[in-house]
Amino acid sequence: MADRIEIGFKEGVRDSLGEKIKKRIIENLHIKVDSVKTIDVHTIDGNLTRKELDMAAAGPLSDPIIQGFAINSGLADRFDWMIEVGFRPGVTDNVGKTAREAIELLFGKLSDRLSGVHTSRQYVIEGRIGRDDAETIASSLLANDLIERYVIVDGKSWDRRKGLSPYVPRVIGEDRVHIEEINLDASDKALMEISSRRLLALNLEEMKALRNYLTDKSILKERKKAGLGGKMTDAELECLAQTWSEHCKHKIFNARIVYEDERGKREEIDSLFDSCIKRATKEIRERLGKDDWCLSVFVDNAGIIRFNDDYNLVFKVETHNSPSALDPYGGALTGIVGVNRDPFGTGRGAKLIFNTDVFCFAPPTYDKPLPKRILHPRRIYEGVREGVEHGGNKSGIPTVNGCIVFDERFLGKPLVYCGTGGIMPAVIQGKPTHTKEILAGDLVVMAGGRIGKDGIHGATFSSEELHEGSPVTAVQIGDPITQKKMTDFLLMARDRGLYRCITDNGAGGLSSSVGETARLSGGCEIDLKKAPLKYAGLNPWEILISESQERMTLAVSPDLVQEFLALAEKMDVEATVIGRYTDSGMFHVLYGDATVAYIEMDFLHDGVPQMQLQANWQPRIYPEPDFPEPADMGQSLKDMLGRLNICSKESVVRQYDHEVQGGSVVKPLVGVCNDGPSDAAVIRPILTSFEGVVVANGICPRYGDIDTYHMAACAIDEAIRNAIAVGGSLDFMAGIDNFCWCDPVQSEKTPDGEYKLAQLVRANKALYDCTRAFGVPCISGKDSMKNDYNIGNVKISIPPTLLFSTMGRIDDARKAVTLDAKRPGDLVYIVGETYDELGGSEWYAMHGVIGNRVPKVNVEKAKALYRALSKAISAGLVASCHDCSDGGAGIAIAETAFAGGLGMLIKLALFPSSGIRRNDTLLFSESQSRFVVTILPTAKKSFEAMMTGIAMGQVGEVLAEGFLKIDGLDGRRIIEEDISGLKAAWQKPLNF
């Protein structure tokens, strides 16, 4: 049986969550309600006495100062509508889990009398609205049908004494194991049916490779010994599909591509990954020779570089787009806690020191009809923001850097990039930490959370477009506290040398984590029956590929396993030996005594056939815009400052803890009022030292409409120049590439696949050219290739997007600079040359045009500029430095001024540029590798000497009076605006 404990605020206590919901109902849904109050409900699935229920309610579950409770009756009194939202069976309920633990602590273990606690929330609404409105509020705001259920109660029929009857979202599962065998000795058509019916996301060539594998006589003979026949088990098929998924194997990046350019010149590319990304890194490392500071690139869960003699830095950025489209909160939360496990599971394991987040959304103001299964962009925005907030803040990792990009095409899929950096001692117990080792005989141990049906098919699901049958089990909710407990434990185990190897369970679950690490010893043998489950009813294949969160897989030497397990128990972390690593060459999976998978390691990892693809590049030509220079340039500047891609993101940034761990040096919000936009973050990961880490990013999908080569080059330049702007240096900067593409494989569904693949080729060519020339090696990266929406007749593809993130070192964090103008009388410089490059710019976007003259990066010039500027900053000659990006120099100047609370006088005629005759071009051109710099007048000589040979101009000065005054090319004043008005225009759009 079950009981309900309802907890609500006492009369007169402010219910700020209720108020927030009310505001959203009014603002987002345009439904007028008078008040919303919230009540938390704990449904106790068990057999507790009334007295025990009272004690639990009055004890850990409620706050006696501000809350009251009711047991098995309604707490809400009078209302018009009440909506109660609870989880569906099997969905992670973090609060319920904590409540259960608290109750057990109160009464001692109650295993026989307490099956679980499930939470739900009531929204008690007053207002003259109808059932339809209540339904809209429930479905469009409060509940996500995929993971939650709701009931709507009409106030007229409410009987408080009775209340609602308890509902227990228990997973009804039988402990009956079923192993299916699939006959692959079938026609091509039948093979493809199997692939699509089972959501394998494998193509015909791959299915044929599986079919062929089972025709090999020696393999069949081996299989027979293990008790398997000529058919593939479900576990084998699923495991291979996960391992061979686009998500895990990056098949497009490893494909053989024939690329043909606009002049018909053909080129054959054997793996973009090898020939562009890895190659550039390899060449940079060779150039660095003995000074090479890269330690582990592309081979582990994250990249590792040297920080100093004693410590290494680790960095990885991931995306979690598809889950965030379906459940923004859970998807983003899982995204952030998921990427946390990458650096955590790299080498011997790293302590996590910063998070980054970059989101791409459709505008929250979107007001057209929504295609089926698509959530409103504002809901996505708020859900993703909150998911990352909970994931980052609760894990105690500062979110130091990020940005938000808006484009209507992200309606099809939002992009949710989450990055995490870590630090590890270079040596632990005499052994280097950046490599991995496993010996045959080591035990396979799973630690952390339990396995459920959540996250099944995540890897294959994200390797497909969002379609009608996209599985709801792919959605999951992360649990940052379970993960925190696990990481606390594992860091201690690491320092005591209790495990040999660590890796995370992400996409593909155990099949992937054990499958990958088993390569180090040459095989494994695991028993899925030993793996702890959340509930009964999982088939072996589900246990094998479930992506349930908060789990790490470890290799533990048998002589240390008792100590390891004892420490886990003490620290309240579940750890279970599920098998051992072998050198048999086989990936051997059992369920009890029965073999459920027996696959050659070589085939599992290297059996996937290489894709053969065709790419055709045909540049797109857009009409050149023809609009007159605006008469009121001041208003234009304000309009630009209020553009979504430019405006302040403070409301989001504030909700992320950006200074936990105590090493914050350059925060995301700086300036006289702590609200100016930083270019990059600087942190000190070791509190006794002033060595700093610089973290930055670059992303500019709009340029890709013209040419993805320049889109990629500009993203790389932006990430680097952001880092340079705060004091970073090209001497010590590593990159992470994250490609998010729309499907680039030519097919019926994607008739322009060859063009999209050409876009991918071009972006990779730019990545090779730029990272190599800048000397900024990629150390890790990720791609997400199927960011399309395809339901009914509607297809929405995201614009091809490269996020480039950098992590570098600053020798002395006390030399970092920020963007805000510092003192009246300081001199203002534009560093770097401005060209007529408005193609794909925000200025053109505001006029509804794209144009063709996309910004181009001149790496050699940029390199010289960055080196000189780094030197000047390090010499203490620079008072403020701000990079010019979206909206160009005009926006950078305005931000520098209002962040410093100071005015400026600027003369456009003094800009270093050539052949530009329009003021708006000078102000808003997005030419790359440029900065707005201010310096003390006394530093002029030294600064200019240090910048010899660099295109730059002293274009004005900082004023005490709070006005931004800009004189046009002909010397006439074209802008004279109060900086508080400019700032207000910049702050307004996303201030909700």
Partner: protein, 275 residues
Amino acid sequence: MPKEVKSIVITGNGTNCEMEMAHACRLAGSDVVDIVHISMLLYGEKSLDDYHFLNLPGGFLDGDDLGSAKAGANRILHAKIKGKKENLFDQFARFIGRGKLILGVCNGFQLLVKLGMLPGFDGDYRNQTTTLTFNDSGRFEDRWVNLRVNPDSRCIFTRKVTGIYLPVRHGEGKFVTKDKDVLERLHRDHQVVVEYSHEDFRDAVMDYPANPNGAIDGIAGICNETGRIFGLMPHPEAYLHRTNHPRWTREQLPEEGMGLAIFKNAIDFIRKEDV
């Protein structure tokens, strides 16, 4: 020979400011600083009895799932220490009884309040009379605030400090009392230690964002009757060096961050007094 000062920083179950808290204790001159996972206390491997200064850092105990620090308080009240007849609360009570110092920051403050250790009227450390609840804004926020220090407070930690600038980083920091009497008594007995103020550190303020959460009378931190237990929402351990200050690139600031004074006062007191 001067007395050796031993500080303990408790971590585990979602605590996440233990590193910088320990760093603050070291900078302030504590001779021994141990970051101790709560499981070590529960397994009897470490004991509060061996320390003078107990630090309860910020974080999200058990995710703050049942309200901030609620489940954490429940653990201290009811979790037994292995092999002993006492639970964690008994160790806390003994620690307090010996006049030792406790500092709770953010989640640590929430914990002290929900246990009833603050304000701890009449030496009753198990009776909750105040709470910290959801910010009026309904959101978690990271922002720097000015704090006025009550000159009449008996708080050991804020001696010779008149005002202080620190970050708050919380979603549940609104201080509320059970009733008017509790509030009046807190003021009357000068148990209110720090209040949100403007830059001049003069008056307690209610206006957002200077008062970031809507705390009653702008109360940001309180102490017990002896001034030896102190809890506050803002983070003194987040401002130990000038580069932590959000405007360090534009202001002339002393090398040492303002938050360190809180820890120095504690360590100095312990070294001098018989605790």
